[in-house]
C-alpha cells in the first residue's frame, strides 16, 4: 500500500509541524485543562474496566479518598490534603530559584532529608534540656542550616570548578539517605524504627496539627513570588539563567549569584524537612520525603516557575495521588495503579505543551485536487 502511493504520487507529507508564535493565554490554559480532564476521564475509564464500577462511582471514590466525609462536617481529610500540598509545594518553591537560574538542582530529596535529620537530632539531644521556645529556635535554625549546606556544596563546586550540578546533587541524595539509614540504625534498634519524639514538635492550633505547616508554606509562596518577580536578586537570577555572559557584562557576580541562590534553594528544602520532621512525623526514615523531591522538579516546571500556578499543580497532583490510591485500595487493585494514573495524567499535561508551542499543518493539496 505504502509503496504504491509513493510510486503514484510524489507529494508533500500528510502534515507538518510549525512553531506557533504566541497563543492567547486563555487558549493555552484551556488546552492544559482539557488535557487534565481528558486524561483523568481516560484513566477513570480504565479503572472502570478493571473494577466494574461506574465512572461516577470511581470519581466519587477519588473524591472521598481526598476529602472524606466533608459534607458531614469532618475536616480531618481536608487538612491532611492541605498538609500534603504544603510539603510538595514547599519543595517545588525551593527548587524554583535554582531552576530559573538554569542550575539543575536534583537534590531536593537529600537537602530536605538532612534538614529533617538536623531537626530530629536537636529534638532528641536537646529536647529534654532546653525550654520550648529556645528549643524551637534551635530546631528551625539547624534544619535550615543543614539544608543550606547540602545545597551549598554542589554550588561551590559548580561556581569554581564548573562541575556537573545534576550529578553532584543526585549523589548528595544518596549520601543523605545513607547517613539517615545509619542514624536510624544507631537510634532505632529492634526493627529499625525511631519512635516519634515528644520534644520540639510544632504547636497545634486548637485541635489542628497541620495548620502551622500550611501557614508557613503559604507565606513562603507569596514571599517567593515577590522575591523572584520584584527583588533585585530575583532579577539577577533570571539574567544568569538567560545568559551568564550577559550577566557578567552587566556586572553581575555570577559565582556569587549561583552560591547565594543554591543556599536559598537548599535552605527551603531544609524547611520542607523541618515541616516533615518537627511538624508532621516527629521521627525520620530514609523515605520520609518519599520521592517528593523529584516530583517537585516536575511541579516547578509545570508551574512555569510561578509559585501561584504551582499551588494549583501540586493541589492537582496530590488530589490524584490520594484519589487514585483510594480507588486502588477500595477496588483491591495493586497500589501501583495510582502511580500509573498519575503518570498518565502528567504525560498528558506535559504532552499538551507541544500543542501550545507548535501547530500541526495538514496539507491542503489533496482536497483542492479532488475538488
Amino acid at each position: 500500500m505504502a509503496d504504491n502511493t509513493t510510486v503514484k504520487h510524489h507529494r508533500e507529507p500528510l502534515f507538518h509541524i510549525a512553531k506557533r508564535d504566541d497563543m492567547v493565554w486563555w487558549k493555552a490554559w484551556l488546552i492544559r485543562i482539557a488535557a487534565i480532564v481528558i486524561s483523568i476521564f481516560a484513566m477513570s475509564l480504565v479503572s472502570m474496566a478493571l473494577t466494574e464500577k461506574s465512572l461516577f462511582e470511581t470519581l466519587e471514590i477519588m473524591y472521598r479518598g481526598v476529602l472524606g466525609r466533608i459534607e458531614e462536617g469532618s475536616t480531618v481529610m481536608l487538612w491532611k490534603y492541605l498538609q500534603q500540598i504544603a510539603i510538595l509545594l514547599c519543595l517545588s518553591l525551593a527548587l524554583t530559584p535554582a531552576f530559573k537560574m538554569k542550575f539543575w538542582n536534583c537534590g531536593a530529596e537529600g537537602q530536605a532529608l538532612v534538614g529533617g535529620l538536623g531537626a530530629l537530632i536537636v529534638m532528641i539531644e536537646l529536647g529534654p534540656k532546653l525550654p520550648y521556645g529556645v528549643l524551637m529556635v534551635v530546631v528551625v535554625a539547624v534544619s535550615i542550616l543543614a539544608g543550606a549546606i547540602w545545597g551549598l556544596l554542589p554550588a561551590i563546586f559548580k561556581a569554581f570548578f564548573n562541575t556537573n550540578e545534576t550529578l553532584f546533587t543526585l549523589m548528595m541524595n544518596y549520601i543523605a539517605t545513607q547517613i539517615i539509614a545509619y542514624y536510624v540504625y544507631i537510634k532505632g534498634g529492634g526493627s529499625n524504627v525511631i519512635s516519634p519524639v515528644a520534644y520540639g514538635n510544632f504547636p497545634k492550633v486548637g485541635d489542628n496539627k497541620y495548620l502551622v505547616n500550611i501557614i508557613i508554606v503559604a507565606v513562603l509562596t507569596v514571599a517567593m513570588y515577590i522575591y523572584l518577580k520584584y527583588s533585585k536578586q530575583g532579577y539577577e537570577i533570571s539574567v544568569v539563567g538567560e545568559s551568564q555572559n550577559t550577566a557578567r557584562y552587566i556586572g553581575i557576580n555570577v559565582k556569587k549569584v549561583i552560591i547565594r541562590t543554591m543556599c536559598i534553594s537548599g535552605a527551603l528544602c531544609g524547611v520542607a524537612g523541618l515541616l516533615l520532621v518537627a511538624g508532621t512525623d516527629h521521627t525520620i526514615r530514609t523515605d520520609t520525603v518519599g520521592g517528593q523531591g523529584f516530583t517537585a522538579i516536575m511541579m516547578s516546571w509545570l508551574g512555569q516557575f510561578n509559585p501561584f500556578i504551582m499551588v494549583f499543580m501540586t493541589a492537582l497532583i496530590i488530589f490524584l495521588k490520594l484519589g487514585a490510591g483510594k480507588v486502588a485500595d477500595t477496588c483491591r487493585l495493586n497500589s501501583s495503579f495510582s502511580d500509573i494514573f498519575i503518570g498518565v495524567v502528567i504525560l498528558c499535561v506535559v504532552g499538551c505543551e507541544f500543542f501550545i508551542r507548535y501547530t500541526i499543518k495538514f496539507r491542503h493539496h489533496k482536497k483542492e485536487g479532488k475538488a
Partner: protein, 421 residues
Amino acid sequence: MKKVSKILALILALSMVFAFAACKNEPATGENDTTAGELADVKVGFIFLHDENSTYDKNFMDAAKKACEEMGIEYAQKTQIPESNDCYDAAVELIEVDGCNVIFADSFGHESFLMKAAAEYEDVQFCHATGTQAHTSELKNFHNAFASIYEGRFLAGVAAGMKLNEMIEAGEITEEEAKMGYVGAFTFAEVISGYTSFYLGAKSVCPSVTMDVKFTGSWYDEQKEKEAADALITGGCVLISQHADSMGAPTACETAGVPNVSYNGSTINACPNTFIVSSRINWAPYFEYMIQCVMDGKAIDTDWTGTLETGSVMLTDVNEAVAAEGTVAKLEEVKAALNDGSLQVFDTANFTVTVTDTLNVNATVDGNGVLTGYMADVDTDEAFTADTEVVEGGVFYESKFRSGPYFDVRIDGITLLDEAY
C-alpha cells in the same frame, strides 16, 4: 494580577464541579449505608506494610478476606503503608472515610503510630500483629496479637533435619557437612526466636547439624535476599530457610538446586524441585475472634497468642517430591507431642549457651552451658531493659508473658555471619 484572578476563577469553577459531583452522589452513599447497616455493625480496616507481592502481607490479606467473608462483614484496606506517620494517616482515613471501627496493622514498626491513632479514637478498637507494647500501655483499645510460630518453625525444622539425614545416608554429604543456611531480616527477637526454633527442630532429628545466618536489614528486598541465599550456598550450606518476605531466597535455591524450607506460605509453584514445606501463621482465627469480640461488645485480649490448637500455626502440604521419606508421618507425631505438652520447643536440655561479656548478658548458665535463667525484655522500653525471668523448670517460655516473641538468646551451633542489622 489580571491573570491571577482569572486563574483563581478557573480553580473556583473546577472546585464547583467537584462539589456538584459530590452533591449528586450523596443519596447513593446513604442507600448503601442503610442496606449494609443490618448486616454489619463491624467494619474492619486493614493496614498492610506491602502488597500481595510480599509473602508476608499476602498471608494477612488472604486471612482478612477469608475471615471477613465468613463472618459476613465489610472491610477496607490500605496497602504499601510504611512504618511511619503514614500508618497513622492510614488509620485515620480508614476510620474517617471508610467508617471502620476496628483497625488492624500487620507490621512491627507500625505500633507506635497505631498507638497515636488509638489515643485519639477511643471508640475504635486497634489490633496489631507482632507488637510488644499493649500490655504496658494505658490504652484500653489497643491490643497485640501473635502466634506461637516457633512451634511451626520447629516442625519445619524437623522436616529439614530429615532431609539432611536423607542426604547423609545417600552419601551426598558427611555428618559434619550438614550445615543449613538462614536468611533473616533483622537481629531482633522475632527473627532470633524463629531461626533458633527452626534449628532446634532440625537438631532433634539430625544431631550434627549446624547453621549459618545472614541478615538483610529489610523485610522485603528480593535482590538482597537472593544474594544472601547465594552467599550461604557458596559457603557450604546444603539447605536454606528464610525469615524475610520476598521470593528472593526460594528462587535462589531453585536456581542452585538446594532444598528450601519456606515461610508464610507455599512456594511450590515457583520452586517445584526444591520446596520442602513452609510454616505460616494463619491469621483468620484471630480476625474471627477480634470481629466476634466487637460484635458482642466484649473486650479483646490485650495479648492474644494463637497456637497449633487454635489453628493459628500451620504447615503447608509437604512437597513429597523433595522431602525425605516419612516426613508427613513424623510431623504428625511431633505435632501431637507439641500439642499435649510432652515436647517443648525451647527445652533447655536440648541446647547450650555460651555467655561472654557482650553475648547473652542476660542469661545464667550452669557448668555444662545449659540455660538456667534468662531475664528478657518483656516490658518494652527504649533501653531494652531486661525485666522478666522467663526460664522456669528447664523450659524457656516463649510468648507466655506477652504475645510478641522475646527469645533472643544466641545458642551454640548457630553462627551469625553478619550482625549489621
